[in-house]
């Protein structure tokens, strides 16, 4: 059993919804990322999603584009990320998931990537632009090194497609809350809960929900139906607004604490038991 699966088991046992914060490695520099990860863990993060910056992040909104640009300005590469994870692992017990685009991994080499990731202490990997159809080559390697490859489902996915993706799922399934790119939003889609419920009903693994979760209210909304809430742009926004300020790390910490408190206030969702014939109502 991987550290990620383990985490979800513990969360379920505690009747809690997980909090998975995302930050871009190297934004604004690797030392700050190191400090941020520790702070987020301290404030209640259950899994850390660490963004590997890419020059052409086609699924990201402006906030995460800028975060990646800041990280790339001083050349943050996969090797740097592994080095960071290795250092974090010396004291960090919670799972670390790498989140990014396929090209840097492909260029690094799939086998070498999986080996080095595992060795550094990475627990899972999520490639935004690597749907199951194209993932086999890399998945063979991540499976071999016991890394969870996390797949996504989206509001546009059909039931058929969901079943196909879920059949390959490991760790958890990442449900994309909005039809769109990453970024903070005023409101989540009206049918989000229904969609997540249906997926959860047929998913062999827990379901995390991300993209657009921008506030404690959103987190609460998601918590009613999902196993974890993934928060990205909202955190990067705080980082951006705090650039050059001595309290950058505690400000992010405060946001995590607020989100975690909100999530703890909600009861874990229970299986609906419905038979799902279509994902879309």
């Amino acid at each position: 059993m991987t550290r990620i699966a383990d985490t979800f088991t513990q969360l379920q046992a505690r009747g809690e919804v997980g909090l998975i914060p995302f930050i871009t490695a190297g934004d604004p520099d690797l030392e700050t990322t190191f400090a941020l990860v520790h702070e987020m863990a301290r404030q209640g993060a259950d899994i850390i999603e660490l963004g590997v910056p890419f020059s052409d992040p086609m699924a990201d909104g402006p906030t995460l584009q800028r975060a990646a640009e800041r990280a790339l300005q001083h050349g943050t590469s996969l090797s740097h990320v592994f080095e960071l994870v290795r250092r974090l692992r010396q004291s960090l017990p919670i799972p670390i998931l790498l989140f990014g685009y396929y090209n840097p991994i492909w260029r690094y080499g799939g086998e070498r990537f999986a080996a080095d990731a595992r060795q550094a202490g990475v627990d899972g990997v999520l490639c935004v632009d690597l749907p199951p159809e194209e993932a086999e080559e890399l998945k063979r390697e991540t499976d071999r090194h016991d890394l969870d490859m996390i797949f996504l489902l989206a509001p546009t996915s059909s039931l058929d497609r969901a079943q196909k993706v879920l059949a390959r799922a490991r760790g958890f399934i990442y449900y994309v809350a909005v039809t769109g790119v990453t970024g903070v939003r005023a409101a989540l889609p009206a049918d989000l809960s229904a969609m997540v419920r249906r997926i959860r009903a047929i998913s062999p693994v827990p379901v995390g929900v991300g993209f657009g979760i921008s506030s404690a209210e959103h987190a609460v909304q998601v918590a009613g139906v999902a196993d974890a809430a993934i928060v990205g742009s909202a955190i990067s926004q705080v980082i951006e607004q705090s650039l050059g300020r001595p309290d950058l790390v505690p400000r992010v910490g405060a946001l995590i604490a607020e989100l975690k408190t909100a999530l703890r206030s909600v009861a874990t969702p229970h299986d609906t038991g419905t038979t799902i014939v279509s994902l879309r109502s």
Partner: protein, 396 residues
């Protein structure tokens, strides 16, 4: 039509569908609709009628008498995509995709553009068939291709200036993909070249193959045989694949893909010559990138070539050595433009001028019995200001 790609959209190692999950259903639907349409005689009839009555096809194959004489080698023919409505081969593809969009009941077209030609061609078919249209264009390109910006506006399209990244074609494509992810339900993304996720490289090639099919018929009519060389410039590769595809089974026909050498080492857009296999904008192909997998900034005076990737099918045939890949730099391309203008009265697009410039070095080495076809993928009107600037003339 070629048996490639396979059912996953793979051309050997290349191609595929490397996109966000949100887009996968749309790509699968497009693949399905396209596979129906390509067998549907109503669709084919509609497409052929528009090719003939709107685009102005067939475009001529012009024997270049004075260029042939000037170069003193093989006989040179020009495939005249510059005569297509809107001034380049791009519309062969946008018409096809717009008809697919109509079939799929979409209301809105989006497109990325570099030179502006694909943007104009998309805005054009949007006007023709009654779609709303938004075109993404890097800010740098909106400046160097200003007349095309105004053309798109006149055609009723909305221009979306892209200020992220290097503000050129690659970034316009990122933004278009982001828009598509967001509005995929009612929006059709009209990709401008044989790149992007499956089925785009396949369907764009098919829509552009009319170039090669016509060329084949025309050269046989004029010369009684197939040509020895085909030369085409390569940005994403749509005019090249359009010309080459119908000749792929003809093993005696050499094919030369001319990439943008820009200003030389480190400042070019020659993905096959200088790139590595990678994943960009939805497919695996040759990509200009650094050793950590970040996409490189590119340069070419020809905005339509100024792109760090190339269609996956070209990568495949390049590896197979079925096509040969060469580079031509900015200054040579400008000379190519002048050469064709002065000898044949045809001002080619800077993109196409790359193919002309390569012909200027290849043709003199060939015997007089050889036959070379250059794809004049577009006309140069859009490039006059850049060339004037390049030449340091303020006369424009």
């Amino acid at each position: 039509m070629s048996k490639l790609p396979d059912k996953y959209g793979h051309f050997g190692l290349y191609g595929g569908r490397y996109v966000a999950e949100t887009l996968m259903p749309a790509l699968l639907e497009l693949e399905e609709v396209y596979s129906q349409c390509r067998r549907d005689s109503t669709f084919k009839r509609e497409l052929r009628a528009l090719q003939r009555e709107y685009i102005g096809r067939p475009t001529p194959l012009t024997f270049a008498a004075r260029l042939t004489e000037r170069l003193g080698g093989a006989k040179v023919y020009l495939k005249r995509e510059d005569l297509c409505h809107t001034g380049a081969h791009k519309i062969n593809n946008t018409i096809g995709q717009a008809l697919l969009a109509k079939r799929m009941g979409k209301e809105r077209l989006i497109a990325e553009t570099g030179a502006g030609q694909h943007g104009v061609a998309t805005a054009t078919v949007a006007a023709l068939l009654g779609f709303s249209c938004e075109v993404f264009m890097g800010r740098e390109d909106t400046v160097r291709q200003a007349p095309n910006v105004f053309r798109m506006r006149l055609l009723g399209a909305t221009l979306r200036e892209v200020v992220s990244g290097s503000q050129t074609l690659k970034d316009a494509m990122n933004e278009a993909l982001r828009d598509w992810i967001t509005h995929v339900a009612h929006t059709f993304y009209v990709i401008g070249t044989v790149a992007g996720p499956h089925p785009y490289p396949m369907l764009v090639r098919d829509f552009q193959s009319v170039i090669g099919r016509e060329t084949k018929k025309q050269i046989v009519q004029y010369e009684g045989r197939l040509p020895d060389y085909l030369i085409a410039c390569v940005g994403g590769g749509s005019n090249a694949m359009g010309l080459f595809a119908p000749f792929l089974p003809e093993t005696a026909v050499h094919m030369v893909a001319v990439e943008a050498g820009g200003l030389g080492a480190g400042r070019n857009a020659a993905s096959m010559a200088n790139g590595y296999a990678g994943v960009l904008h939805g497919s695996k192909t040759y990509v200009l990138q650094d050793e950590t997998g970040q996409i490189s900034a590119t340069h070419s005076l020809a905005p339509g070539l100024d792109y760090p990737g190339v269609g996956p099918e070209l990568s495949y045939w390049n590896d197979q050595q079925r096509i040969r890949c060469v580079t031509v730099q900015d200054a040579q391309a400008v000379e190519g433009m002048r050469l064709l203008a002065e000898t044949e009265g045809i001002i080619p697009a800077l993109e196409s001028a790359h193919a002309v410039a390569h012909a200027a070095t290849l043709v003199p080495q060939l015997p007089a019995t050889a036959i070379v076809v250059i794809n004049v993928s577009g006309r140069g009107d859009k490039d006059l200001q850049s060339v004037a600037n390049f030449l340091g003339e303020n006369a424009l």
